[in-house]
């Protein structure tokens, strides 16, 4: 079996009396989409926070590209190649679509301490940004203010910014959230191809998308992984059906 690109080992996080994450171990291998599903309050956001940085686990470690990154900052993990998209779009709303994508390209270049060259006149940055926008189908909106984009387009831009980083792994927090069925289908097709470029850890509520895309699934309930396996295995798992899929076993 190939080495996992990204893995967590016994991640545990408590907030006061609430255990948001308990002994979560999962991994992401090259070329796959590993989906994490779970009901609201299952600890998905806490898990992502610990993987991407920002939330320090009480126990356990995160390894990325064979290195223990538990003590690294979010920015340092991003520089190693962790490409993240946010559940609630975290974009510079006053800026144009292109400027948001260029921001990713600036990050990919490893620093923003060039004070004099015009960012948007820098062909290297611009090409990288435009290429990413083209891939998600936003090239025509490059000059639009981000605040004027539709919800679905913002989700696409989220992905485009991550693409500019040419990441080694994607961590996507509900990329389909709030999208119409058409947008959701297009995004599904897009992610399907994207996995060949870099594996995707996908936290998603849209079950159609999850079942269509995931190579493997992990089910999170009350901060614990109660089942992990292929789509078929999870569908057949009685505990999952009881806890999550809402069917009596």
């Amino acid at each position: 079996m190939t080495e996992p690109v990204l893995a967590t080992h016994g991640l545990t996080k408590r907030f006061g009396a609430v255990t948001a994450c308990e002994g979560v171990s999962l991994d992401l291998r090259p070329g796959e989409i590993h989906a994490v599903i779970g009901p609201n309050g299952a600890g998905k956001s806490t898990l992502i926070g610990q993987i991407c940085g920002g939330i320090a686990p009480d126990n356990g470690t995160v390894s990325f590209l064979g290195r223990d990154v538990t003590g690294l900052s979010t920015a340092a993990r991003a520089r190693m190649g962790m490409g993240r998209t946010f559940q609630i779009s975290a974009l510079a709303m006053e800026d144009t679509v292109l400027q948001n994508a260029v921001l990713g390209a600036v990050g990919a270049r490893g620093g923003a301490f060039s004070l004099f060259r015009r960012a948007l006149a820098d062909s290297d940055l611009r090409q990288r940004a435009t290429a990413a926008l083209e891939r998600v189908g936003l090239a025509d909106h490059a000059a639009t203010r981000t605040a004027e984009l539709s919800h679905g387009q913002r989700r696409q831009l989220e992905v485009a910014v991550a693409l500019t980083l040419a990441p080694r792994a994607f961590v996507m927090d509900e990329p389909m959230a709030g999208m119409g069925s058409e947008g959701s289908k297009r995004m599904t097709a897009f992610l399907d191809e994207l996995r060949a470029e870099a594996p995707i850890l996908l936290v998603e509520h849209d079950m159609d998308a999850v079942f269509a895309l995931a190579d493997r699934l992990s089910v999170l309930v009350y901060g614990r992984v109660i089942a992990s396996g292929t789509v078929e295995e999870i569908r057949a798992d009685a505990r999952v059906r009881a806890a999550y899929l809402g069917e009596s076993a």
Partner: protein
Amino acid sequence: MKREMLINAALMAGLLVVPLWAWAVDEPFTITLATRVAILALAAVGLNIALGIGGLVSLGHAAFFGIGGYAMGILASHAQTYDPIMQWPLLVEGTKVMPVIWIVAVLAAALAALVIGALSLRTSGVYFIMITLAFGQMLYFFAISWPAYGGEDGLSIYVRNDFPLLNTLDPIQFFAICFALLALALWFSARLAASPFGLALNAARQTPQRVEAVGLSPFRLRLAAFVLSGAITGLAGALFADLNRFVSPVMFSWQTSGEIIVFIILGGVGRLYGPVAGAALFITLEHFLGEVSDYWHIFLGLLLLAVVLFARGGVIGTLAGRKVAHD
């Protein structure tokens, strides 16, 4: 965008024409007013980098303004008494040469901004405002209790400092120096805003998580912005002291910090030429309303209220419309 550029050009032209006219009709006081506008605008251009682009509401920029002022005061006072600043381990003498004074003022203000920024930028929001205020007040009381350089009474310089080839005692020539530095600072800050650094700093104000997620550190971006910002305000402080030929702890007071913020709000937050519009409006009001009543600040307060409630973009925003993202 086109319209904003026209307004900016008109502002700068106005700031140039008024003193030239005053020079032609021999009204030196008006030239001094225009010089004040240029210098205070320069101070606010500095703050605007931190506040306008970076969203850092610093209520302590008087610290850098005062440091610039005292850099000038200390260097020039030693020069006029021929008393070296220190003799060991190396001899450092005072100077009356403006460019040297400016360099010292800029470096001293930048260093102070690095220290103050490194500590205050660990907080945000109201705490950031309070900590920067506290640093400003610390320096204010330090200046008051430092008898070597005049303490509470401040420090007078008999003759304005020198600039090679120019007669700085001639108001219009000193104005030209200040105006040129203001134009330079505006050019620098326009370049900065359009650079990758400016883009990232601007994004860090709107969405710090995103900036982190692309591998950049919002803290470092803000710290660099704070240092540049403090350095420019420090330069303005040195000029302000030279204009008045006098330095006093008032330059460090929180009212000074407040006034610099007021210029930006009046002119339009985040607008490149907002500080120029704001400072010009402020000085004009101070001059004309000040003649009518000693309590002219009441009117200023009303105007500020009106701007904050009805014209968020300040003078520039009202005239030029919504900020257009430039390509």
